[in-house]
């Protein structure tokens, strides 16, 4: 039976350090982790320490990772602190650093040519559906609100995003200005307080 290292619920770099310490003393270990970052970090540790790496089991969020030493023990001494510094603890999945917010401030993407800008924004919004990590919020303002109105070529994409749990804020002042009051068919009408707050609280802002 391989040694079990239970790193569930622990934050980076704890799981990768525990795994490193255990594999230095054992030929084979199984590490239990519950986040993707730990999996990636341990995968890199395995490369560094010449270990076989495999995810052997998955129950919900919990992954069982098996590491098997293939090189000679102590052949590649690795410093714990160096490992911790190198592993991507800072590159957290959006949630830990604040939400990923997409700003649609125009119904075109980029400046220069509006026909092209129209094609690009349609491609961009459609691509948001497959983007990983998925945006947490989308804010539409200025002519960007037209994207959420009836007749928009990306209305179905925005509706799907909303269905998938993405919060879509549509600027009420802008809807009023363009007289689209009864035309907005994706997301919910919002105001500048919410829009400014959402932008201020974002981990990252994405603006096409």
């Amino acid at each position: 039976m391989p040694v079990i290292v239970d790193a569930r619920g622990l934050a980076c770099p704890e799981p990768v350090i525990m795994a490193k310490n255990a594999i230095e003393k054992n030929e084979e270990i199984t590490v239990l982790v519950d986040n993707e970052m730990a999996v990636e970090n341990i995968r890199r540790l395995a490369v560094k320490m010449a270990c076989g790496f495999s995810v052997t089991e998955k129950e919900g969020e919990v992954r069982h990772i098996t590491l098997v030493r293939t090189g000679a023990p102590g052949q590649t001494p690795v410093d714990s602190e160096a490992i911790a510094a190198e592993m991507s603890c800072a590159v957290a999945s959006g949630k830990e650093t604040g939400p990923l917010v997409v700003i649609l401030s125009d119904n075109h993407m980029g400046r220069g040519d509006d026909v092209l800008g129209d094609i690009l924004i349609r491609s961009f919004v459609h691509t948001l559906l497959q983007l990983k990590p998925r945006p947490d919020k989308v804010i539409c303002y200025n002519s960007g609100v037209k994207l959420a109105a009836k007749g928009s070529a990306v209305l179905d994409d925005l509706q799907q995003l909303a269905k998938d749990g993405v919060d879509i804020l549509v600027c009420g002042t802008c809807v009023n200005y363009f007289e689209l009051g009864d035309q907005v068919a994706a997301g919910h009408i919002s105001n500048m307080y919410d829009i400014a707050e959402t932008m201020a609280g974002a981990g990252r802002l994405l603006r096409p």
């Binding site: 026909v115 092209l116 094609i119 491609s123």
Partner: protein, 74 residues
């Protein structure tokens, strides 16, 4: 629920795709301009997607008006 099956029409350039879109819009045939899926290579970054059952309608409507490179099932 059965998953909707799609085909995409690939064109030699963006302007072909746009022209095709105009024709389909005028003819009232449902379609969607999307980025070319990653696994398909194409110089032109956009393509037209339609449900599988609309493929022949699209072909008929575009025949002789806009040339397409190929049709790929998704």
């Amino acid at each position: 629920m059965e998953e909707q099956r799609y085909v995409v029409f690939l064109f030699p350039s963006v302007s072909y795709a746009l022209k095709a879109e105009k024709i389909l819009k005028a003819a009232g045939i449902a379609h969607k301009l999307i980025p070319v899926p990653r696994h398909i290579s194409s110089d032109c970054g956009v393509c037209l997607r339609a449900t599988e059952d609309k493929q022949q309608d699209l072909e008929r409507e575009l025949q002789g008006k806009v040339a397409w490179d190929k049709i790929v099932s998704l």
